[in-house]
């Protein structure tokens, strides 16, 4: 019975992105932008996180799921399409969520750390890389950035654009 049910799961159209890091890294803001971009693109989005202790340096996880219709706000183990980590230890800790053929951004994180000249724009650069892998159009991301970021919007958008280029390049290489 169980096996039969599992086959019928409507998971094909759903994208699961797991953001993780520690308190104060801007994980939640990055996840919010991603969720807004998905909403702007017409998807049903559910984003789940637990905050409260997050500011005190504890683990921070944000689960984002989008598609035609989403039920669970949480990603199940072995179902994450992407793990976007902001902290190496946290990324490794949650590797069990990654589905077969899913992608951990651990490598990107290590590269991206040296990319934007100004470290403050690391997060938007990093999001730019992620955006290359997700089906949302660039306008949806731009609108989300505008809504969510109050300061240094132009610089952030620049960093996002650079990240997106880097992401598209990495994606191109992978496809070849």
């Amino acid at each position: 019975m169980n096996k039969k049910k599992r086959k019928q799961k409507p998971v094909d159209a759903i994208v699961n992105v797991l953001f993780c890091g520690t308190g104060g890294q801007g994980v939640l803001t990055a996840a919010e932008i991603c969720a807004l971009a998905a909403m702007n693109s017409g998807y049903h989005v559910k984003k789940s996180e637990v905050h409260g202790m997050a500011q005190r340096g504890g683990s921070v996880e944000s689960h984002i799921r989008f598609g035609a219709r989403i039920f669970s706000p949480l990603i199940q183990p072995l179902q994450a399409d992407y793990i976007v980590c902001f902290h190496e230890g946290e990324g490794k800790r949650l590797n069990g969520y990654l589905k077969k053929g899913g992608r951990s951004f651990l490598g990107f994180m290590q590269d991206a750390r040296f990319q934007p000249a100004d470290k403050r724009f690391f997060n938007t650069y990093y999001l730019g890389i992620l955006s290359a892998f997700l089906p949302m159009p660039e306008e949806a991301w731009q609108a989300a950035l505008t809504k969510q970021l109050k300061r240094a919007l132009a610089e952030n958008k620049q960093a996002f654009g650079d990240g997106r280029k880097a992401g598209l390049m990495a994606l191109g290489k992978q496809e070849k």
């Binding site: 799961k9 969720a35 984003k47 789940s48 905050h51 409260g52 949480l74």
Partner: protein
């Protein structure tokens, strides 16, 4: 007749209530069901789409339902409800001193004729239990909803109680949304039910619903007029004679609510395979749909009073019936009392939060395996003023009766300098209890500024009155830090950051009759240490107000201390401070994380070998 004002109507109660019920269902609920059945359809046609958390959705829905007054004391995961409501100018929103006060203010507004809302976390409701139990008797005038967020999995709480019991205990209806979009729709329903059945409504959410975000199609604010207030002594004055009569009416109200429960679309059947059926409520519904998309569902959104007939009919329609609910077996036990054969989760799943991957285990009847958490534990921030106080208390080997707040983190090793944490305000009273049995011991009660105002001050008055001696330290960081930095009476600012009269902590302690009241900046650690020693030696009741703003307010950073590896004896005393900026190398030496270090120099003060030296000379360093 103004609906809701007189309950039940003095002539022909049943007939009138049926009329109201019918009106209620035609007016409102059937629209709701269409919306719920396909949230996505409505959302496609809506131009106003927002990504809202459960808390924000409740606030938005309540505002649209014409909410006038909203009161709360901050508490994870309910805090954002009031924070969101405070953004609407036409809602009179406040941080109340505590939950009891919040509940009473909101209920008063309801009786006077304005729709009102109370919000708190589960343990907050305990503080408001006294007014709640009798508010069930008085009923309401304009709609009154108590939104209560449970915290299964204890993301930031001291216990895992299930608020649905409170609905049964207080004989109040319980509404339970399973997503932000439902929370938005159901809160309107809650106000309608409250007015039509003359009852406060318990609106129960959980952390996972409160802190999940989802697209919600929002609308404009309904023009809801104030209801006229008419003096009604038998209704609002709960003396024994009146209360007895009200109790009769409340039992009748429960029967009428049970009828509503049968018909309301909040309890909906989703027909699927007749082989497998789930009775569920709240977030487990979402997890089940994910794992068993073809099963049949009875999804309860109006959990109490139960819809017995609907449950029985649903049970007959499926071969294998499984009840899945988070925390306590409330639906499960009720289904069993109806004589219905149903399977349910093993008792081990009553503990902690349910997760999507638990569903197949529950279905199979397996037990939960406890796994040690590998998540990083929260710690006091670098530069946190509390760390200075706990460093002094650790040196003095004090027994610390603690309280609810960031400073509870001082209990985690290696700091381990907080020895009790029970509930809000209990530090002062447990301190008194300890001192009564251990009069000579160095016991110190420690609590925050917001907690002191919430319910610490009553314990302090008790200590003075009952001739207690000892030492209480108020960690005054000028905010309610743990919940994200909310104002309270001693910050002198309202929920909207407007200036108001500021409560003076030292004056109120003096007014209570405390022998010694000192105010000190805990960063002056040598003076603080001397003061603590002196006060502990005296036969008097003393309060020290350790005043320094939270590091999340005063973000000023000084350069990190200089570290001399040669002088370092690797004694590890600095690591006992549990500062996230100090990293221990494999050979026991110190590595300072520059981006984390706030330059508080407590480690330098602690180092006996002068291996850590402040880069800037402070007042007493």
């Amino acid at each position: 007749m103004i609906a809701g004002q007189v309950f039940p109507p003095r002539r022909g109660p049943l007939k009138a209530s049926l009329w109201r019920l019918r009106k209620h269902l035609t007016d409102h609920s059937w629209q709701t069901i269409n919306v719920i059945q396909d949230i996505m359809e409505t959302q496609k046609s809506s131009t106003h789409m927002e990504l809202l958390s459960g808390d924000e959705a409740v606030a938005r829905g309540a505002w649209e339902a014409g909410l006038r007054v909203a009161c709360a004391y901050p508490g994870t995961p309910s805090t954002e409800i009031l924070e969101t409501l405070a953004e609407f100018d036409d809602v009179d929103a406040q941080w109340s001193v505590n939950e009891k006060v919040a509940f009473e203010v909101a209920l008063g507004s309801s009786i006077a004729g304005g729709r009102s809302l109370y919000a708190s976390k589960h343990v907050g409701l305990n503080v408001a239990m006294d007014p709640l139990m009798t508010a069930s008797y008085t009923g309401v005038n304009a709609g009154f909803v108590a939104v209560v967020c449970d915290d299964p999995g204890l993301a930031s709480s001291q216990n895992e109680q299930d608020t649905r019991w409170v609905g049964m205990y207080a004989k109040l209806p319980v509404i339970e949304p399973a997503s932000p979009a439902e929370a938005y729709l159901f809160i309107r329903e809650a106000f309608t039910i409250s007015e039509q059945f003359d009852t406060p409504v318990l609106f129960r959410m959980t952390t996972r619903v409160a802190h999940t975000k989802e697209n919600v199609a929002t609308g404009p604010r309904d023009p809801v007029a104030l209801r006229p207030f008419a003096t009604d002594i038998p209704k609002y004055v709960m003396v024994p004679r009146n209360a007895y009569r009200k109790h009769i009416l409340i039992e009748k109200r429960l029967l009428q609510l049970a009828k509503l429960s049968e018909k309301t679309p909040l309890n909906r059947v989703e027909k699927g395979s007749p082989k497998l059926g789930f009775i569920t409520s709240g977030i487990p519904y979402q997890y089940l749909k994910e794992n068993y998309p073809d099963a049949s569902y009875l999804k309860l959104g109006f959990t109490y009073p139960f819809c017995d007939k609907k449950i029985a009919k649903f049970a007959q329609s499926v071969k294998d019936l499984v009840v899945v609910e988070e925390l306590d077996p409330i639906i499960e036990e009720h289904v069993k009392t109806l004589g219905i054969k149903a399977r349910a989760k093993q008792a081990t799943f009553r503990i902690g939060e349910l997760l999507p991957e638990h569903m197949p285990l529950i279905y199979k009847g397996a037990s939960k395996k406890e796994e040690a958490s590998t998540a990083r534990k929260p710690v006091l921030c670098p530069g946190c003023p509390h760390r200075f106080v706990f460093s002094v208390l650790k040196r003095n080997k004090a027994i610390v009766t603690g309280d609810i707040g960031c400073y509870t983190l001082a209990a985690t090793p290696p700091l381990s300098t907080l020895h009790t944490c029970l509930c809000m305000g209990s530090s002062i009273t447990l301190h008194e209890g300890f001192r009564r049995v251990m009069p000579g011991a160095k016991v110190v009660g420690v609590l925050g500024d917001s907690t002191f105002v919430h319910s610490g001050v009553t314990g302090l008055i008790n200590a003075v009155y009952n001739k207690m001696t000892g030492l209480i330290i108020i960690l005054d960081n000028s905010t309610t830090a743990m919940t994200g930095g909310q104002n309270h009476p001693a910050t002198g600012k309202t929920i909207r950051d407007e200036a108001t009269k500021q409560l003076s902590l030292e004056n109120i302690c003096t007014a209570c009759g405390v022998d010694n009241v000192d105010v000190i900046d805990p960063k002056n650690i040598k003076e603080l240490d001397a003061l603590v020693k002196r006060r502990l030696a005296e036969n008097a009741l003393s309060v020290i107000v350790a005043r320094r703003p939270c590091k999340l307010i005063d973000r000023e950073k000084l350069p990190m201390p200089e570290y001399d590896r040669v002088k370092c004896k690797t004694c590890g005393l600095c690591f006992n401070l549990d500062c996230p900026a100090l990293v221990k190398t494999d050979d026991g030496y110190v590595e300072i994380n520059q981006s984390l270090c706030a330059g508080c120099y407590l480690c330098a003060e602690t180092c006996p070998a002068d291996a850590l030296i402040p880069s800037v000379k402070g007042p007493s360093l």
